[in-house]
């Protein structure tokens, strides 16, 4: 009777926790899942309004959806714990896959392992020496050069390899992604972003952190000497320019201009022109025409009462609108005269009919705007790591696209005076079929058949 007794010797292979982890993080299936999950999460972030105010978030507590949204950070998807978790898993997955491939990469690089995708056996009717010469002449054209040759009695081994560096392309691309993610993490931990608004002629140091909204201070003061806004003839903005001085410990350490696309960097901190705001006016100019035909110009400064040349009116600037109405910019002025109640008047720049004040016909001639310049503040020590990753990524693409690792081996064995056996094998990382067909064609063309 022949009964297998292996039944009573079963051993249960224990799958340890580490094995499971290893299996999970070296699988491309996880990579596919993570890519799709990150894509869907990113879509959520563009659909659901992000950066909601405190008030909105307290309102959200009222409803079930709102509370869920807050738990899952749906109002700040890209900074949520689960989005970061997905990125960390992606990073681990990349490291796992890279680690798994390193041994075979080293073996391929050293030529100790060659995955042959085709093998060809041929017989030549010449002595081994002549056959070797014919084969080298045929293949050197395709493989750009002479082979490494190993000689043994009655046999030769010829070995061609092109663009071995191609093997590094895929690891380089994946390493690049890991480095970019690490750079982003560095920026998240050690960098900061903020915004500061400085009025023309003023100095600023305190700024608001983005996105937390917390106040913070720069290590230097920014003095905005001048803000200029240039326009094209068509009225579109052409350039914003902030002329600034940086003051540290009472000393001026830098002076220059900041424009859009032309930031200023001082001690690692960059200042970027982001926007501007009309906050006030330096002065308003009124054109006065007296009853006797005399013309005057009157300049009003904010917060200052001005007297009319004649008469007893005093005028004070109350408000200004830079031009949201079709009647152009307007100002509100307060008029005071002794023994009369003060009154307020609105003057539009584009009105054809002047406003009458006392004996004068008054027109709004123009105003000198006072701007506040909006600057963005950025400090990101991780950016250089990210750029390193980007350069590696592009290098990886160039290597994989424009180079090709190809390998041909020819084993020549003398089998008598006019009989030589040949074994041609090889592989190519790209255009496999074309490569095989080409090698087949040239080797069979080169040999002298029996």
């Amino acid at each position: 009777m022949n009964v297998s007794n292996s039944g009573d010797k079963t051993s249960e292979k224990r799958v340890s926790f580490w094995d499971l982890l290893d299996r999970a993080f070296t699988s491309v299936r996880l990579a596919l899942f993570l890519l799709f999950a990150l894509a869907i999460a990113s879509i959520l972030g563009t659909i659901i309004p992000q950066e909601i105010s405190f008030q909105q978030s307290s309102q959200a507590h009222g409803s079930l959806y709102g509370r869920l949204a807050l738990i899952f950070d749906l109002h700040q998807v890209y900074r949520s714990w689960w989005f970061l978790l997905l990125l960390v898993l992606l990073c681990l997955n990349l490291i796992g896959c890279l680690g798994k491939r390193i041994p075979s990469l080293i073996a391929d690089w050293g030529g100790r392992r060659s995955k042959e995708t085709f093998v060809l056996s041929l017989i030549d009717a010449r002595p081994a020496e002549a056959c070797k010469k014919a084969i080298i002449d045929a293949i050197r054209g395709v493989m750009n050069g002479l082979p490494n040759t190993e000689e043994a009695p009655h046999e030769y081994r010829l070995d061609w390899t092109t663009h071995r560096v191609h093997l590094l392309g895929f690891p380089l691309i994946h390493l690049a992604i890991i480095i970019i993610l690490l750079g982003a993490l560095t920026g998240l931990l050690f960098g900061f972003k903020g915004a500061i608004q400085i009025r023309e002629g003023y100095t600023g140091m305190g700024y608001t952190l983005i996105p937390s909204g917390q106040p913070a201070n720069l290590p230097f003061e920014v003095a905005l000497d001048k803000f200029e806004l240039y326009r094209y003839p068509s009225g579109e903005p052409k350039e914003y320019r902030s002329e600034v001085r940086l003051i540290q410990d009472g000393k001026e350490v830098y002076s220059g201009s900041i424009r859009v696309n032309h930031p200023l960097t001082y001690s690692g901190i960059s200042l970027f022109q982001s926007d501007y705001k009309l906050v006030s006016v330096k002065s308003v100019t009124l054109a006065l025409e007296g009853a006797d035909g005399s013309n005057h110009e009157m300049v009003l400064a904010p917060g200052v009462e001005t007297k009319f040349p004649k008469g007893h009116f005093k005028i004070r600037l109350v408000a200004l609108d830079p031009g949201s109405s079709i009647r152009g910019p307007w100002i509100d002025v307060a008029l005071e005269k002794e023994n009369e109640d003060p009154k307020t008047l609105r003057i539009f720049q584009k009105d054809t009919k002047p406003v009458r004040i006392g004996d004068y016909e008054v027109r709004l001639k123009g105003y000198q705007p006072l701007y506040a310049s909006g600057l963005q503040i950025g400090y990101d020590p991780g950016a250089y790591i990210v750029w390193l990753g980007c350069i590696m990524l592009v290098a990886g693409f160039v290597i994989t696209l424009f180079l090709n690792y190809r390998h041909v081996r020819v084993h020549i064995i003398a089998d008598g005076q006019d009989k030589t056996r040949l074994r041609v094998s090889g592989s190519s990382r790209k255009m496999r079929r074309e490569f095989r067909e080409e090698i087949e064609k040239i080797t069979t063309g080169a040999i002298k058949s029996v």
């Binding site: 491309v28 299936r29 990579a31 596919l32 890519l35 799709f36 990150l38 894509a39 990113s42 879509i43 972030g45 563009t46 992000q50 890209y78 982003a184 972003k193 094209y232 068509s234 579109e236 903005p237 052409k238 350039e239 914003y240 424009r259 859009v260 696309n261 930031p263 960059s270 970027f272 022109q273 982001s274 963005q376 503040i377 950025g378 990101d380 950016a383 990210v386 750029w387 980007c390 990524l393 592009v394 693409f397 696209l401």
Partner: protein, 272 residues
């Protein structure tokens, strides 16, 4: 003649060449001289189209607002049309198949015809766009988009060959289509990556942060991830045929949303 008028001419020339191509397919055999001439006509129109883009560049200098013609929706559509036409010609040269060109030309016509709906005047460049990164960023992104468009055209034809054998016998072999779907994605993916990197470099230079999750940035990353999934599915898990074709179609929908849909969401790219 202005470049806008030239673009109108080019638009209808693409339509005409599509019709000529289809007639050539019906009345003559593949590889016939008629079909070769139809292809040459497309090459000539594409050259004219490229000339029109350069001409608009010169025109903008004559108006005193000189800048590369890549600064608004009209100009980007014209450039997108040109990159698709170029990608189709590249597919024809690489794979010796005319059908993909004929099938892709209507896409070029639709893109070019849609320029009639938007403002075509040459405007001066707003401060945010005054940067040398503009050309590098826009050109790489749109060449990437063109690669994805070529892949999409081949993927749709591939899915049609599966629909019925009747249709399949008039289309190029499924294996060839599958190859075009894959190779176009490889090129498009590399170019989109470079486009995202140049965009990040520009954003870092102009706004002080290389990534700010602006909707267009985010959607370009979504597109990138979908095509990354495509490449991993194909290279590491051995997917091919209808499954990769479906991912290619999905990726192309993401491209369209990145290009057009995002304009309806607020963000930094609002001028495109």
């Amino acid at each position: 003649m202005t470049s806008t008028a030239l673009n109108t001419f080019v638009t209808f020339a693409y339509l005409t060449s599509t019709v000529i191509y289809l007639i050539a397919f019906v009345v003559s055999s593949p590889k016939s001289r008629f079909i070769q001439r139809a292809f040459r006509l497309v090459v000539v129109i594409c050259l004219l189209h490229g000339f029109s883009i350069l001409y608009r560049w010169i025109e903008s200098y004559q108006l005193g607002v000189g800048h590369a013609p890549l600064s608004n929706l009209y100009e980007s559509l014209v450039f997108f049309g040109w990159t698709i036409a170029t990608a189709l010609i590249a597919v024809r040269v690489a794979f010796h198949n005319d059908f993909v060109v004929a099938a892709g030309l209507p896409t070029v016509f639709i893109v070019m015809a849609s320029t009639f709906l938007v403002d075509s005047s040459i405007r001066p460049l707003i401060p945010a766009l005054q940067s040398n990164w503009l050309v590098a960023h826009v050109v790489t992104c749109f060449l990437g988009y063109a690669g994805f468009t070529a892949s999409f055209v081949a993927a749709v034809m591939f899915l049609l060959t599966l629909a019925s054998p009747m249709v399949a016998q008039h289309l190029p072999p499924a294996k060839l289509l599958d190859e075009i779907v894959y190779r176009s994605v490889v090129i498009g993916f590399c170019l989109l990556s470079v486009g995202i990197i140049t965009g990040a470099a520009w954003a870092d230079h102009a706004w002080g942060s290389y990534w700010s999750w602006d909707p267009k940035e985010t959607w370009s990353l979504i597109t990138w991830m979908v095509y990354a999934a495509f490449l991993h599915a194909r290279l590491a898990r051995g997917w091919s045929g209808h499954r990769t074709a479906m991912i290619s179609v999905m990726g192309f929908l993401c491209v369209l949303f990145t290009y057009f849909g995002v304009n309806y969401l607020p963000g930094l790219h609002s001028y495109f």
